[in-house]
Amino acid sequence: MRSVFVGAIRRGAPAVIIAAVAVPPILIDGYALSVAINVAQYGVMATAWAMFSGPTRYVSLATVAFYGVGVYTAALLGGSMPWAIVLLAAALSGATLAILAGMLTLRLSGVYFVIFTFSLSELLRQIVTWYEVNVHRSVGRYVFLDVAPAHIYSQLLGLLALLLALAWLLRRSRMGLALRIIGADLVVANHIGIDTAKVRVLLFAFSAIFMSTAGAIIAPRWTYVDPAIAFSQTISFEVLIMALFGGVQLLFGPLIGVASLCLVFEYLSIQFPDQLIAFLGLIYLLIVYVMPSGIVPACSAVGQVLALREKAVA
C-alpha cells in the first residue's frame, strides 16, 4: 500500500511539472503568473536545499545568503552585461561563497553548522549594507532590467527542470550514496574511504549555485532592492520549512511542500504580516511532532493504517 501511494506521487509529480512547463507562460498573467513565479522560485531553492541537507542532515540556513548574492550580482551587472554572463557570474559567486563557507565549517556539526549558516546570511547583509552606504551612497538601488514576468517564469522553470534532472542523477550516483552514508554515520563514511570533507563542500557549492542563480533570475522583478529585502532571513526559514513539509527523502518532496505552502505563506503574509514568523514556527512544530519525514510519507502511513482497518473490518 505504502509503495503504491508513494509510487503514485512519484509518477504523478513529474506529470504535474511537465504540465506546468507545457502551459505557455503567456497564457497566464497577472496574479496567477506572480504566484507561479513564486512557486518556481521556491521550488528551485527547496529542491536545492534538500539535495544537500536531506541526505547529509546538515541543516543550512544559508539559503538566503546565496540567493541574496545572486540578486546583487544581477543588480550590479545586469545593466552592463549580457544576461547569460550575469547568470553565470551569479552561479560562480554562489559557488565561491559556498566553497569558502564549506571549508570553514568542515569541523562543525549539528547545531553549530546551523548557527554558522544563519550568521553567514547576516554577515553578508551587513557587508552589503556597508558597501551600499559607503561606496554606492544609498542603501537601496533600482534594478531597471527589461525582463517580462513570463520570461522570468520560463527561466525559473528551465532552472528547476535542470536541477531536478541533476538531482535525479545524483541520487543514483556514487556521490549520492556518499551523501547518504555521511548523513547516517560520518565516522563510518571516513573509514570506508569517503573524503567526507570534499563531498560535503562540493555538494554545498552545487546546491548554492542553484540558489544564487534563482536570485539573479528573480532580481529584475523587484525594481528596488536593499540588503534587508535580498538577505531576509525569513526566506531561509521558509525554504527549510517547505522542503521538510514535503519531505526531503523524495526527489519531488520539496516541490510538493512548496506547492502546498506557497499559497499559505502568501495568504498569511498579507493577512498577518507581523505574525508570519509565529506561523512558520507553528508549521515547523507540526512537521517535527506529527510528520518528521514530511507530508508524502505521512500520507502513505495514514493510507497504510486505513488499508489495515479495511482488512480488519472485512
Binding site: L177, A184, V187, N190, H191, I192, G193, I194, T196
Partner: protein, 242 residues
C-alpha cells in the same frame, strides 16, 4: 616477509592526559598479532591512530614504505588498512547488502552498482550473512552485526586488518566460528592486529602479543611467553601485595 606495519616512538596526548606513551612495534606480513592490556591502557587509541581517526602527537606510523602518520582516515583506507570498531558501527537504515555495497563503492579496487552484486554476495557469504542480505542492519543480532562489520572491512580489500574486540561478547560455538573465520583470513594473505580480551581467542590466534599498561608498552613476544610474564600478570590482576 617484510614489515607491513611499524610504529616508531608513537605518543598521543589529549590535553594533559597521555593516552599512548612512546610505543614502538612492527608487524610482519601474514602475522596475527594481539594488542593486549587492561581497560584504559591505550589499545584503542593505538588503533585509532593507525586507522587515521587521530593523528599521533609525536612519532611515526609506517605502512610498508609509506609514512601514514599524517594521513586522514579515508586515505589510509585507500592505502590498504581497514578496521572494525569496539562499539559496533553499521549503517542501521541500510540493508546488509547495502552496508557492504557502501564499502565497495569508494576505493580503487572496489565496484559500484551492478558490477558489485557478485562481490557483495561473496563477502556476505564469507562472514555467514548471505541469507540476511536484505535484512536491515538495525534488525540484526549482536553477533550478526559483528559479522557485517567484518564484511564491510573486508570489502575494502585491505592487506592489514585492525579488529577492535571483534570477538568480545561471543560465546561457545560463536567464538569457535569467529576464531576459525579470522584464521581463514590469514590464509588469504591478510595481516591482522587485534585488540582482544578473550584469552582463548588470543591463545588460538596470535603468533605474538604486545601488551600495553597505562599507555606504555610493557611486554612483547610470543603469545605463551607474554601471557606468563609476571609484569603482564601484575598489570591485569594487580601485584601480590596490593
Amino acid at each position: 616477509m617484510g614489515n607491513m606495519l611499524g610504529l616508531c616512538h608513537v605518543s598521543k596526548s589529549f590535553g594533559g592526559l597521555v593516552a599512548v606513551d612512546n610505543v614502538s612495534f612492527t608487524i610482519e606480513e601474514g602475522e596475527i598479532v594481539g594488542l593486549l592490556g587492561p581497560n584504559g591502557s591505550g589499545k584503542t587509541t593505538v588503533l585509532n591512530m593507525i586507522s587515521g581517526s587521530f593523528r599521533p602527537t609525536s612519532g611515526e606510523i609506517w605502512y610498508k614504505a609509506t609514512n601514514i602518520s599524517r594521513m586522514r582516515a579515508h586515505d589510509i583506507v585507500q592505502v590498504g588498512i581497514a578496521r572494525t570498531f569496539q562499539l559496533v558501527r553499521v549503517l542501521g537504515a541500510f540493508t546488509c547488502a547495502q552496508n557492504v555495497a557502501a564499502a565497495l563503492a569508494f576505493h580503487p579496487g572496489g565496484a559500484f552498482g551492478r558490477a558489485a552484486v557478485e562481490r557483495i554476495e561473496r563477502l556476505l557469504d564469507t562472514v555467514g550473512l548471505v541469507l540476511k542480505a536484505d535484512a536491515l542492519a538495525s534488525d540484526l543480532t549482536y553477533i550478526d552485526l559483528k559479522r557485517l562489520e567484518l564484511a564491510r572491512a573486508l570489502a575494502l580489500d585491505p592487506s592489514v586488518l585492525l579488529l577492535d574486540e571483534w570477538l568480545a561478547g561471543l560465546s561457545g560455538t560463536e567464538l569457535d566460528d569467529g576464531i576459525a573465520l579470522i584464521r581463514s583470513l590469514r590464509t588469504q594473505g591478510l595481516t591482522i592486529l587485534l585488540v582482544e580480551h578473550v584469552m582463548r581467542a588470543i591463545r588460538a590466534l596470535c603468533d605474538r602479543c604486545i601488551v600495553l599498561s597505562s599507555a606504555v608498552k610493557i611486554a612483547e613476544g610470543a603469545t605463551g611467553d607474554v601471557l606468563s610474564d609476571p609484569r603482564v600478570v601484575t598489570s591485569y590482576l594487580g601485584s601480590h601485595d596490593a
